[in-house]
């Protein structure tokens, strides 16, 4: 698969790694990072509404308490989780360069940690969604 991606790639602009180990985690890291910062922009504003009193703030938080928004919320939590775990992987490799020689093991370990914790989080939050229905 790596070689196929390399052949297809005429210009490597914006695609560091070019199909090597880390290509997918690099892409997911970007996507989850952008998703989280976009939510943060909204979240600072919705929290700031508390400065306008209980009536205003409770109207805002009410918007978060519906099943459809809970599905988006699950996506947000998974994005934070992925970005955290993959970010630690990147930081560990950068600070302990000898780990780069074991990139496959490190990458798979980080993927397994994410999948297991994502399954737990999804279980708990799915129950919240079902309880709301």
């Amino acid at each position: 698969m790596a070689s196929r991606l390399r052949k297809k790639q005429k210009d490597d602009f914006g695609t560091a790694y070019r199909g090597h180990e880390g290509q997918w985690s690099w892409m997911f890291h970007r996507i989850t990072g952008v998703a989280v910062i976009l939510f943060l922009f909204a979240h600072v504003v919705d929290t700031a509404v508390i400065g306008w009193g209980p009536e205003a703030y409770d109207r805002v938080t009410e918007a978060y308490k519906n099943p459809a928004v809970h599905v988006l919320e699950l996506g947000l939590v998974l994005a934070v989780l992925y970005h955290s775990i993959n970010g630690m992987k990147v930081t560990l490799i950068d600070f302990f360069p000898s780990l780069a020689g074991h990139i496959k093991v490190v990458g798979r370990t980080s993927a397994i940690v994410f999948v297991v914790s994502a399954a737990i989080v999804t279980g708990i939050m799915t129950k919240q969604i079902i309880d709301l229905l």
Partner: protein, 150 residues
């Protein structure tokens, strides 16, 4: 504001790159501002592992998640200087970390210098505004301004 970025293995304007040594980990900026930001992303990332992931898990998982959040919940929580400090540090670090991330992405995908500058200015102004707004609220919030309805 530098529009070019020095990277250890990049040859720049479309010239063929030397083959990357994938056993050496990710590219690290050679020096200056970019190296400091490179370091900041990793240090703040470690702190945010506690602040941001902690905040996310605490707010979304136990006892009904965000459904328990209302004015009273925040008033109780912000009665503690510990949580106010946590939230303010989270606000500050997450905004800088996130906006530098967006800046890094524009370096990859927005190639016209003018467009990139404009995009980054939007991020900086938005980030600074949200930092000021969030700081004012987290410092000045006083629930006794709204006495409970009898």
């Amino acid at each position: 504001m530098a529009t070019t970025i020095e990277r250890s293995t990049t040859s720049g304007d479309g010239a063929p790159r030397p083959p990357r040594d994938y056993t050496r980990g990710s590219e690290r900026p050679v020096g200056g501002f970019e190296l400091w930001m490179w370091l900041f992303m990793r240090i703040s990332g470690i702190v945010l592992l506690v602040l941001a992931l902690g905040h996310t898990l605490i707010m979304h998982l136990p006892s009904g998640g965000v459904d328990r959040v209302d004015f009273g919940f925040v008033a109780t929580r912000w009665a503690s200087p510990f949580w106010r400090s946590w939230d303010w540090m989270l606000l500050t670090l997450a905004l800088i970390h996130g906006i530098n991330g967006l800046r890094n992405i524009t370096l990859d995908y927005v190639r016209k210098p003018g467009t990139r500058f404009a995009a980054n200015m939007v991020f900086y102004v938005l980030g600074f505004t949200l930092f000021v707004l969030g700081t004012i609220i987290v410092v000045t919030f006083d629930p006794s301004n709204w006495p409970p309805v009898a």
